[in-house]
């Protein structure tokens, strides 16, 4: 798929922007702080309904404005969709598809599929498990938009259940009884929603593994023994590979783990088992990448995760739009050249760079200059 149009009203630094896009590569060049990332962030928002940089929506609305509007026209094969999002901080966003309002904003998920490469990706390798869980969940939703509802339900159950444990724990410590009558019911929902998420993540890791190994070798320019493995907080049944067929067994595993953890959970006032406590372990030559990998190896791994996402979505026939935000500046010239070669076959690649020369010439494509929240044709 590709975008033919992006328009912004009061999004980040842009009071108004109207941009025509075409398939192939487009590079946005401009010095720091001019609004390059803001462009890709807006496109990523249409795909995921979230920013890759901030958790809340308030920073996305231009200072002094009360709402932001992002409009894109998405072409997939011989079909086009016009998606409009109105972002109002503190309230539910509104969405329109082909000018008609949709019931729930979530219904537009799946219309645009993107893979974003950003300097922040290094944290996938060097940072906390939360970032890697977010990586897996983002890819789950990109492959199957209904997973957004599963994730939302699971997160809601975790928050409610943890509050129940915390409140009851506090009451017990101060001599009260602490009301845990509804805990069994919450456990039931935690187990079913948790097992569904777990089954999906396990299956995703299985599908991703060969693609990551291949992409790592391609980016690093040398075969290395890299591995990705799902580390569950719940002891898994022998030989688990995820997928819907395993859901029942995983529900049981969740129940067993919850029974085991109950006393500790009440004492600590939090939900200690479930996919919200899991990690994706990345290793090189049998050692965890976090803490052992060099800077160059870490970058190769981060790029390999994104490139593998690209391959997987492609294989699903969801040909994503690739967004490369300022990544070439982070890489040495060999990795630059290989990355350029690997992304070039995509239907559409949108690249940003502070220095035009950082983008390998064969990828540069059409060029725009970004200055002070305005975008002009450079050619």
């Amino acid at each position: 798929m590709h975008l033919t149009h992006l328009s912004l009203v009061d999004f980040r630094s842009y009071p108004a922007l109207d941009l025509t896009l075409s398939p192939g590569t487009t590079t946005f060049v401009g010095s720091n702080g001019q609004g390059k990332t803001n462009l890709l962030e807006a496109i990523g928002y249409v795909a995921t309904l979230a920013s890759h940089r901030v958790a809340g929506d308030a920073p996305l609305v231009r200072d002094g404005a009360d709402r932001a509007i992002v409009r894109t026209r998405i072409v997939r094969g011989d079909r086009a969709a016009l998606v409009e999002l109105e972002i109002v901080p503190g309230r539910a966003n509104r969405a329109r598809l082909n000018r008609a309002p949709v019931t729930r904003t979530r219904d537009v998920l799946g219309l645009l599929c993107t893979v974003l490469f950003a300097p922040e990706d290094l944290a996938l390798v060097k940072g906390d498990p939360a970032g890697r869980r977010q990586f897996l969940d983002g890819l789950l939703v990109a492959r199957a938009p209904r997973m957004a509802a599963v994730l939302a339900d699971y997160e809601r159950v975790v928050r409610q259940r943890s509050t129940l444990l915390r409140t009851a724990g506090a009451a017990r410590r101060s001599g009260g009884r602490g009301d845990l009558r509804t805990l069994d019911v919450w456990d039931g929902y935690l187990a079913t929603h948790g097992a569904e998420l777990l089954a999906a993540r396990l299956a995703l890791v299985e599908a991703l593994r060969p693609a990551v190994v291949e992409a790592y070798a391609a980016v690093a320019g040398a075969a290395a023994e890299v591995a990705i493995d799902y580390r569950a907080s719940v002891p898994l049944p022998e030989g688990s590979v995820g997928g819907t067929g395993e859901r029942e067994r995983l529900v049981e595993a969740m129940h067993a783990a919850l029974a085991d953890a109950r006393a500790r959970e009440i004492e600590r006032g939090m939900t200690l088992v479930g996919p919200h406590r899991d990690d994706l372990q990345l290793s090189i030559a049998g050692r965890p990448a976090r803490g052992y990998a060099s800077h160059g190896e870490s970058w190769s791994f981060a790029l390999a995760l994104r490139l593998a996402s690209f391959e997987l979505l492609r294989a699903d026939d969801r040909e994503p739009v690739l967004l490369l935000d300022d990544v070439f500046a982070e890489l040495d010239s060999r990795r630059r050249a290989r990355l350029a070669e690997l992304v070039a076959p995509a239907e559409q690649v949108l690249v940003t760079a502070a220095v035009g020369g950082d983008v390998p010439a064969e990828l540069a494509g059409r060029r725009y200059l970004v200055a002070d929240a305005e975008v002009h044709d450079a050619d």
Partner: protein, 199 residues
């Protein structure tokens, strides 16, 4: 900040659900500019609703007497009780004309974050209503979202052992939603296709 009583009005309006500071201000100035007769009618409606409307002694729906209109109607099927979260859900279900039994309004759903536990809902009163054996089926029509589902499961566990048929509205209602938003046809169909839930 505005002069004393104008600001008081804005503050009071701002405490209503779904009304932020900007809307509160807009409504306040609309009222200041409106015809005094219209404003008086609104004031009367507000005081009367608090003086005359109370909650039904049996089902906790809004009522103008001891019993609500539905509980007082002898033509309603006394063997069926439909459990809902709020009085507005009664209105939504009545619109479908699919249900001819009685209701029980819980007054919310189990919600630890909101500080709502079983004792904060009219669950004990529900159990008491079932004691004499007149009711043969209990339909759990709490909202199709996390808290509504948990509340329904909790009730099914409490009431299951009493030996009556406990059913839940069929799925097909928009998940993550509110009963009130479901259109009449979908809600009516959910009633027809209700399924028995185990304890």
């Amino acid at each position: 900040m505005y002069e004393g009583i104008v600001q008081d009005l804005i503050d009071e309006l701002g405490r209503l659900p779904g009304i932020g500071p900007k809307s509160a201000q807009r409504i306040a100035f609309h009222l200041l500019a409106a015809d005094p007769v219209d404003v008086r009618r609104l004031a009367v409606a507000l005081t009367e609703v608090k003086e005359k409307v109370r909650f039904c002694r049996s089902c906790f729906n809004v009522a103008q007497a001891e019993l609500c209109r539905i509980c007082a109607d002898p033509r309603r099927d006394q063997t069926l009780i439909c459990v809902v979260e709020e009085p507005k859900d009664v209105v939504a279900i009545e619109r479908t004309r699919e249900f001819r039994g009685l209701y029980h309004v819980l007054g919310g759903a189990i919600n630890p974050i909101g500080g709502v536990g079983p004792d904060d809902l009219h669950i004990r009163e529900l159990v008491a209503r079932l004691a004499d054996g007149t009711v043969s089926e209990l339909i759990l029509a709490t909202d199709p979202n996390t808290e509504g589902e948990v509340t329904a499961s909790y009730l099914a566990r409490q009431i299951g052992p009493m030996g009556l048929r406990v059913t839940r509205l069929a799925s097909g209602l928009p998940m993550g939603g509110d009963l009130e938003w479901a259109d009449e046809v979908t809600l009516g169909r959910a009633f027809e296709g209700r399924r028995v839930v185990g304890a």
